[in-house]
Subunit: 319 residues, 2 copies
């Protein structure tokens, strides 16, 4: 569910008058997304998305997110384009929240991942990385390596209720990942959350990427590692190497990886797995029983993490 | 939140091939609605709504609901039109659920009710009642007077936890309403759930009615009583008589009420109030603490019920 803020029709009409996008035709809440309130907005000029930024998003990051989308679009990436109001700003206020209108991106996100999705996904991710070059702003990764210790500390007292010995195992693993974390890999603007629901396909082709609200400035190849975790595992957390090979092939067809990036893939994949494991573990332990939204099972990422620790080199991913 | 069933892109493409509405352009879950899964569906031919019927809807009622919408549209009411597939049927199967596509209705439901909404609302309700004439099917009101005793019985053991003495008060009130329930008023197809989120406005005009999944065959004026409760009370449950007068004026401009219907308005309003009070009380007592969706406060309808019991005649509503 992703409508946390109700917008009155009067406020909406007033808000739309700030823009030059025609008059209101329809307005419906969108179920997807968990961080913000999203509405499908239809005007006499077409379809748009209206986003109201809720508490979990830091206001000060909004110029980075919107600026990045604008920069990526201007450099050829298919993603929603923030619409500028008559005053030239792409960020306004509505119903007491910061709000932005973006263009509507056609396409459907794949509910069932197939190998055929993975090569275009890799290529799009590489295009994102190249398109991000020259963007003047930076944003620290709020869920990067620095954040993992404190995140684990919050869950540690109850981690073993999920799986016996999990707390100690995570502490040991985290120590290893931190010790081996690469220092000198190419850095740039990354999406940092490119899960299937953020990638649209149309007629078998990738039509665009959405949801840049975790984007940040970090190791480019870490973004690949996130995708490896999010797209290339079967239900029981076995790697589907045909998918990971396709993903990496797609990526390298646009931006070839250096040997250092290739060598770092296993530790980056461990890092990506522990990052999602830690946030899911926290949500799992802190969602009240019986809540309508079931938190995602953290053990899916525990199994991925085990896999990445058993790996001796990037060859395991099909390279 | 109203996406309970995920639809794979393959299943969706196959499903759309049953229809002649073009090919898929976009597909997003809609946040509104609580009974079914609703998706905004865009094809090369335009916008549609795809509904998957979930457990709370009785499969056997679907031909009535869809047939009624078709009948009402054919008789001039603005409401979504079920789209017939190539096989001529307006009901198909998708992802293991019964599913239907309807046309997209432009408009926005009013988050803040104004007097100006109430006259067109009344007129649209009367048009619905007239348009329903001649529809061959009937459906018993599953939440009508017969259902109230058993519904109260389920909540009785815990009713007093909501408000001291509530259980006994409701039993007494229910007895009175049942004793006075009118027997010979005009009956027809009613919407039975015409709350603000089911009524769309565009450019200050009512653009259409949606969500016919509580529709049934019952006393026409009972539908007015539901609207009186849903549209004409202020936040603290005081009747706004300017609104109720506008609602009744709008209704009578299309379908004048008989004296018997007018005289029955107070008891019908009590019935409508107790119907929503009882379902909300049940949900209130049976929603786990901490659930994401907060159940609606049953006391809003308790206060309305008190009001309707203090009323001596239809004059109180502005007639």
């Amino acid at each position: 569910m992703a409508v946390y803020t109700e917008v009155t029709d009067e406020a909406l009409t007033e808000f739309l008058a700030l823009y030059e996008i025609g008059t209101l035709t329809a307005f419906r809440g969108i179920a997807e997304g968990v961080e913000n309130s999203n509405y499908a907005l239809k005007t006499t000029q077409g379809d748009f998305i209206l986003t109201l930024y809720e508490k979990r998003v830091n206001k000060e990051d909004l110029p980075y997110f919107l600026g990045l989308m604008e920069h990526l679009r201007a450099h050829g990436l298919s993603c929603p384009l923030p619409v500028r109001a008559k005053d030239g700003r792409n960020l306004q206020e509505l119903a007491g929240k910061m709000a932005a209108i973006t263009t509507f991106l056609p396409g459907v996100w794949p509910r069932q991942i197939r190998v055929a999705h993975c090569e275009p996904l890799g290529a799009a991710l590489a295009r994102l990385h190249l398109a991000g070059e020259g963007f003047a702003m930076t944003r620290r990764n709020g869920l990067g390596p620095d954040a993992w210790e404190p995140l684990l500390a919050k869950s540690l007292p109850h981690a073993d209720s999920v799986l016996g010995g999990l707390g100690a195992e995570l502490q040991a693993w985290l120590g290893q990942i931190e010790a081996e974390w690469p220092k000198n890999l190419p850095v740039g603007q990354i999406h940092a959350d490119l899960f299937p629901d953020n990638v649209f396909f149309l007629d078998g082709k990738l039509s665009g990427l959405i949801d840049f609200y975790f984007a940040c400035t970090d190791i480019l190849a870490y973004d690949i590692a996130i995708c490896l975790n999010a797209w290339c595992f079967e239900t029981h957390a076995e790697l589907n190497v045909t998918r990971s090979r396709a993903l990496l092939r797609g990526y390298q067809s646009v931006r070839p990886l250096s040997q250092a990036e290739i060598d770092a893939l296993p530790v980056l994949a461990r890092g990506a797995a522990i990052r999602f494991l830690l946030t899911r573990l926290y949500d799992w332990l802190n969602t009240p029983a019986g809540a309508l939204v079931t938190p995602k099972d953290p053990l899916d990422y525990y199994r991925r993490l085990r896999f990445h620790f058993a790996v001796s080199g990037a060859g395991a991913y099909g390279l």
